[in-house]
């Protein structure tokens, strides 16, 4: 019965046209290098990201994925173009956003639980409530009894779980993840992918997930934004038509292989240019 409820829920989610939570229009980003030349990191990028959508951004190294994310997160000012979050122009950091990087970037002098509580402190949440919530989040990422350890006492995968819990602490609507599993071994990576899907189903966040991996993008996302390099452009906005909820078996279905083949071909073409 629960399965049915979840399925219909998800079905509804995939079928309905979501209203966009992030709109990127005609976005350009140029950087001046130290030697004085100009790098075009993003060239006329247009994306619309739906509420509670899982979007993967896939592209070769240097195509501007991180730049795009940092502009959307209000950390970097764009050269031109428009970024709107919930209908408002992005002018700076926004508390509707949580970020996870490739490196866990935990604060090593803080206990694991205090790392999770960082945003509570910065945003001035009530402490005892924050403590309860931090513990819940640690349990959500499978580290319920590691709160009193220090980050260096955890494995790389465990540290990355903590940084996911930290990003969820202030209950942001949007989760930006910049190659969050890039530094993990293949096995841990698959487990983390499964857990991320579980968390996403539960928390119903909008996720923007940057990756180099075709398989990871297809396994996780509703849509894959394929980018090409130099200058960074959107090569294709690819809809993933795979059923949810997904497990690892989905990777051996013909639909998956076909989509993967298509994306690899596309990536190969963009690199070859």
């Amino acid at each position: 019965m629960t399965t049915y409820a979840l399925n219909s829920n998800v079905l509804e989610k995939t079928l309905s046209v979501r209203e966009p939570i992030i709109e990127v229009r005609n976005l350009d980003q140029r950087f001046k290098t130290t030697s004085g030349s100009t790098v075009v990191a993003l060239d006329n990028v247009n994306v619309s990201i739906g509420d509670t959508e899982f979007l993967a951004v896939l592209g070769p190294s240097g195509c501007g994925k991180s730049t795009l994310m940092q502009i959307m997160a209000g950390l970097v000012k764009q050269t031109s173009g428009q970024v709107q979050l919930k209908g408002k122009n992005v002018k700076g950091p926004n508390r509707d956003i949580g970020i996870v990087f490739q490196r866990p970037a935990l604060f090593p002098w803080r206990l694991v639980v205090d790392n999770v509580m960082l945003s509570a402190e910065v945003l001035g949440m009530e402490r005892s409530q924050a403590k309860v919530r931090a513990q819940e989040l640690l349990e959500l990422v499978g580290l319920g009894d590691s709160g009193k350890l220090y980050p260096y006492e955890l494995s790389g995968g465990m540290q990355q779980r903590v940084s996911i819990a930290r990003a969820l602490m202030h209950d942001p609507e949007i989760l930006f993840m910049d190659e969050p599993f890039g530094a993990l071994d293949a096995l841990t990576r698959e487990t983390m992918g499964l857990e991320l899907l579980r968390i996403w189903e539960m928390k119903r966040k909008t996720v923007v997930f940057i990756t180099h991996s075709v398989t990871e993008a297809l396994f996780l996302a509703d849509r894959v934004l394929v980018m090409s390099a130099r200058p960074g452009r959107v090569a294709e906005d690819f809809k993933v038509n795979l059923p949810r909820p997904r497990d690892l078996d989905v990777m051996s279905t013909p639909g998956f292989s076909e989509a993967a083949g298509h994306l690899r071909h596309l990536l190969g073409a963009t690199i070859g240019e």
Partner: protein, 277 residues
């Protein structure tokens, strides 16, 4: 499933610590005794006069009589003056160094303007300024403190500056993405992150602070362990000098231990600290 792994590693590290400690406890006194014996044999064998090199026993007797408050050459007043100069100069120099490092790290223009002067000044051997300082600040404790401040200030400033500027970009982005204020970014990220650097500077500064105080006392002064050494040198009391050196070694060791304790409390988490022992 991953939990027991952590527990085992912790147990293993304590075991390893115990196994590593045991030979230490035995070897340290053994090396010390061997050193004393070789020293004594060396004197006997080469028939060295006590004015050149006293026997360990003579050094010990001098040291003990220096500890006796009745003795005319007792150490206490001298220890107090030297400690007073070292500690007050160290604390002032460190505070000034940290504050300046803070200002320079926050205001890039200030750093660009002052960096060349700091570099130029840093390359002067500060001890060479000692005579000048004595002209300016006189024969009392003031001139010693001034020299200690000058010597402590630079390593603290330079290390503090690189500490305050060594913020990992991802950590900074996490803070910025939350809209954290400059003060929150400083107090929660920059300051704690700079502590390993700061302590590296403070450690170097401590040894140099002792040296500075003693050298200043050599040049001029009424009291202090450096003054005592000069008084003994004038009557060729070599055994006495060795006694004072022993006091200096113990003082230096004590101060270093105190600093180490504070450091371990504050930067136990840093990679450098954890690979240290």
């Amino acid at each position: 499933m991953e939990k027991p792994l952590v527990v085992t590693t912790q147990k293993k590290s304590t075991d390893m610590k115990l196994r590593r400690m045991r030979p230490d406890y035995f070897l340290i006194p053994a090396v010390f005794v061997a050193f004393i014996v070789v020293w004594d044999l060396f004197i006997t064998f080469f028939d060295i006069r006590s004015v050149i090199l006293p026997r360990p026993l003579a050094v010990w007797q001098n040291f003990i009589s220096g500890l006796n408050p009745e003795s005319p050459l007792n150490y206490y007043a001298h220890i107090l003056s030297t400690l007073y100069e070292v500690l007050s100069g160290y604390v002032i120099g460190a505070i000034v160094g940290i504050i300046l490092a803070l200002m320079l790290s926050q205001i890039p223009l200030l750093e660009r303007v002052f960096k060349p002067f700091i570099v130029a000044f840093q390359s002067i051997p500060k001890i060479a300024i000692a005579p000048l300082i004595i002209i300016w600040f006189g024969f009392g404790a003031g001139s010693k403190i001034a020299l200690v401040i000058l010597i402590v200030f630079f390593p603290v400033l330079v290390n503090g500056l690189s500490g305050f500027k060594s913020v990992e970009p991802e950590r900074l982005a996490v803070m910025r993405s939350l809209g954290a204020s400059q003060w929150k970014i400083f107090s929660k990220l920059v300051l704690p992150g700079s502590l390993p650097f700061l302590f590296a500077g403070l450690e170097v500064a401590l040894v140099q602070a002792m040296t500075a105080a003693i050298v200043a006392e050599f040049l001029a002064g009424r009291q202090g362990l450096g003054v005592l050494i000069i008084q003994m040198e004038q009557v060729l009391n070599t055994g006495g000098i060795f006694g004072v050196l022993t006091v200096l070694a113990i003082l230096g060791w004590l101060l270093t231990m105190i600093l180490n304790l504070i450091r371990k409390k504050l930067v136990f988490w840093s990679d450098a600290e954890r690979s240290r022992k």
